[in-house]
């Protein structure tokens, strides 16, 4: 009943919400019944568009016309794509199962990259690229690739081109030349090479036939750090990531000033998300006791709170395409629900939810 009242309140008293746009999210408490829904700000209504069961986090195509997500279809975990209205569902044709690292769209919207798992001991992870126009699925990274997880497309090759090849060791310079050529033709992914036996992960650049350590190009590698959550900014000129290279989990930015810690605090900081203008990162932290959402101005590393509460946790920040709003998940009212607010934390509203709502993704404005 309380949930119903909250829902009704959110429906009626949502004057501060944006007038247009949409958020895709996971709806449902039980994993087996989770389904992708889309909330439309114009109509203030949400509807289910998912397919199969166990739907994972949604990922919008760059033009905002389709949504990709992991799902269990025909007793297998794979990547599914549906139109905005839930029509024309397609499932990636692949023998191996995928893990639920979210599928990622190429900048031109023609391909999807995802993580797959091979049933070996220990298991091996790979990066698969699905061309939606030809239905072809190709494993990227070359024959000698390490185990790879969580791929994400670089929006451009700008950062790659800015690396000074002459300062690299000979064999690295050679690989870099090859990788640049391939990246120009096919695009380039960043992913995590996974070495659990050494308690480390390593960000890598991945093209169809090449895998190259990314941080190696910027500084000598630490053999005891574990990176995760690689996030290029919209132009592909800087990459945010989390790492324990300083002892505790912090957010770093690889960009024009080298590698910079932009959150420095003894409490863990994680899950960076770039603002559309590339100036701010929204992230999660425990610095005030509970899991909350904060902003850091990357240029100065000045941190301000966005959503922190004593009565519950807030997580999964996502920017609106115009940078004026942040969506996030908060379990402030008995169940996880999606909230939106301005980046300074003002005008917070709860979007109508009747059950658990997770993993918000704002629809791009499109072209």
């Amino acid at each position: 009943m309380i949930g119903g009242l909250l829902t009704a309140t959110a429906l009626v008293c949502s004057l501060a919400l944006p007038d247009t746009g949409a958020i895709a999210f996971i709806s449902g408490e039980e994993q087996s019944k989770r389904n992708i829904h889309v909330y439309d700000f114009a109509t203030r209504k949400s509807r289910g568009i998912g397919t199969g069961t166990h739907n994972g986090p949604p990922s919008w195509s760059p033009d905002g016309s389709r949504v990709a997500f992991t799902a269990r279809v025909n007793d297998r975990y794979g990547v599914a794509v549906v139109n905005l209205d839930g029509t024309d569902p397609k499932v990636m044709p692949l023998d191996q199962e995928t893990v639920d690292d979210p599928p990622r769209w190429s900048p031109d919207g023609t391909r999807l990259a995802c993580s797959t798992i091979q049933d070996e001991t220990p298991p091996r992870f790979d990066v698969a690229v699905w061309n939606l126009e030809t239905s072809e699925v190709i494993r990227w990274g070359g024959d000698t690739r390490p185990s790879l997880r969580a791929p994400i497309w670089m929006p451009s090759t700008d950062l790659l081109m800015a690396i000074d090849v002459e300062t690299q060791r000979d064999e690295m310079a050679q690989t870099l030349f090859t990788l640049r050529d391939e990246a120009e033709k096919n695009g380039v992914l960043i992913a995590l090479a996974w070495f659990p036996d050494k308690t480390l992960t390593e960000p890598v650049l991945v093209t169809p036939s090449t895998t190259l350590p990314l941080l190696y190009l910027a500084k000598a590698p630490s053999d005891r750090s574990a990176e995760w959550n690689l996030r290029p900014d919209r132009k592909g000129r800087q990459i945010a990531f989390e790492s324990d290279m300083g002892g505790d989990r912090e957010i770093y930015v690889l960009g024009k000033r080298g590698i910079v810690n932009v959150t420095n605090h003894p409490a863990a900081d994680w899950n960076p998300r770039w603002s559309p203008d590339g100036r701010y990162l929204a992230f999660e932290s425990f610095r005030d006791g509970r899991r909350g959402i904060y902003l850091t101005l990357v240029e100065t590393a000045r941190v301000t709170p966005v959503a922190v509460s004593e009565s519950g946790d807030c997580w999964s920040p996502e920017w609106s395409p115009d940078g004026k709003w942040l969506a996030f998940v908060g379990d402030l009212e008995s169940r996880p629900a999606i909230h939106v607010c301005h980046p300074d934390g003002s005008d917070r509203e709860t979007i109508a939810m009747d059950t658990w709502a997770l993993a918000p993704a704002w629809r791009p404005e499109g072209k």
């Binding site: 039980e30 639920d100 659990p196 324990d244 999660e284 425990f286």
Partner: protein
């Protein structure tokens, strides 16, 4: 006159019966002992007990959408009939759904297991059995931990003893050891049906030591596990050590976007000062949430992870290969297995797995059927 007295007596009896029948659902609807589901007391209970000492405090979560105007009365009830009213403070609301309290155990409370009773000012009452364990004042540097997993209550076994009989025999065998507490790591039921949870609870309460229970994939086909056991990510301290209990979710469904990863991180930090931190879960898959793996094996590595799921001893290469976390996989209780682990000053040392002989189980099974 005699007839009149008899009529009045019968009328009185009828009124009394009607009153009991009418009042019972109201008064007992909150009792876990009634239908097994959690009601007013969300924590602690017999799967997530409070482990405390005389003079120390423990936390209680009561369900409710607003903080009560008057603090309810909390009482510890021993199996010998001893009752200890508890000094209580309210801390506030959590997620608009729970009120959090701190209760202080009287210095005079004897070591042992207690039921926790709460009584509201409106007469509402609730009780959870084996919810609070008052431990010896001195923390133990050495103790024995029992590990039981994959009980599968409700599994049909036409050719062998039923899971109830086997679990009951395992409990009896553990009670003959010097185990100080028992970890039960999931698949407690075959198909997450309320009756299976109730039967598990009835058997669980035969334990004379604290029991830490987590869910398995067979327990999560629906939401009944939450109704019987509450939250799935929680922690307890036992003497110098910490126990971190969590759910690894479905195969390759990592669920890093849900509430668990944050709670896991917060609880891991809370247990950081402990001598050893021991993780309890049902299964481990390399594809499980990367966030959870970073928390458990990289950022603040746990010392030992106990789980089951495979119904077998650990095979070469199985389990997390991150860093140096110890791994113990115990075969299934439904096949008569359990394991004892010595928690020593030099670290946890798992003993070889123990098994109740099948012929003993079959004899016991036929005895119980009679």
């Amino acid at each position: 006159m005699g007839c009149n007295r008899s009529y009045r007596a019968r009328l009185g009896l009828i009124v009394a019966i009607v009153a009991v029948v009418c009042l019972l659902p109201v008064r007992m609807a909150f009792a876990r002992a009634e239908d097994g589901t959690l009601a007013w007391i969300w924590s602690p209970h017999d799967g997530q007990p409070a482990l405390t000492q005389p003079g120390q405090s423990f936390e209680v979560l009561l369900r409710g959408t607003s903080a009560p105007t008057e603090i309810p009365v909390f009482t510890l009830e021993g199996t010998d009939g001893a009752e200890f009213p508890l000094e209580t403070k309210i801390h506030g609301m959590e997620q608009s759904a729970f009120a959090r309290y701190t209760c202080v155990v009287p210095a005079t409370a004897r070591p042992g297991g207690y039921a926790l009773r709460v009584r509201g000012t409106d007469g509402t009452t609730d009780i959870t059995r084996r919810a609070v364990w008052v431990l010896d004042a001195e923390p133990r540097a050495y103790y024995v931990l029992a590990h039981v997993t994959d009980v599968h209550i409700g599994k049909q076994r036409p050719a062998g003893p039923d899971p109830d009989t086997t679990f009951s025999a395992v409990i009896e065998a553990i009670s003959k050891t010097d185990a100080a507490l028992c970890a039960i790591t999931g698949d407690i039921t075959e198909s997450a049906e309320p009756d299976q949870f109730r039967r598990f609870l009835e058997l669980l309460d035969r334990f004379t030591i604290p029991t830490l229970v987590c869910s398995g994939n067979h327990d999560r086909d629906n939401l009944w596990y939450e109704r019987f056991w509450g939250v799935q990510t929680w922690a307890r301290q036992f003497g110098p050590d910490g126990f971190l209990v969590f759910d690894t979710k479905d195969y390759v469904v990592a669920d890093d976007w849900g509430p668990q990863a944050g709670r896991l991180h917060q609880l891991r930090r809370f247990l950081r000062p402990c001598r050893y931190t021991i993780g309890l879960t049902h299964r481990y898959e390399p594809a499980m949430g990367m966030r959870s793996q970073l928390i458990l094996f990289v950022d603040d590595p746990i010392d030992l992870l106990l789980y089951g799921h495979t119904h077998q001893e650990r095979r070469p290469g199985e389990g997390p290969s991150w860093g140096n976390a110890g791994i113990v996989i115990t075969p299934a209780c439904v096949d008569g297995y359990f394991r004892l682990i010595d928690i020593t000053a030099q670290g946890p040392v798992a003993r070889p797995v123990s098994r109740i002989p099948e012929d003993a189980l079959i004899t016991r099974h036929s005895d119980e059927k009679k």
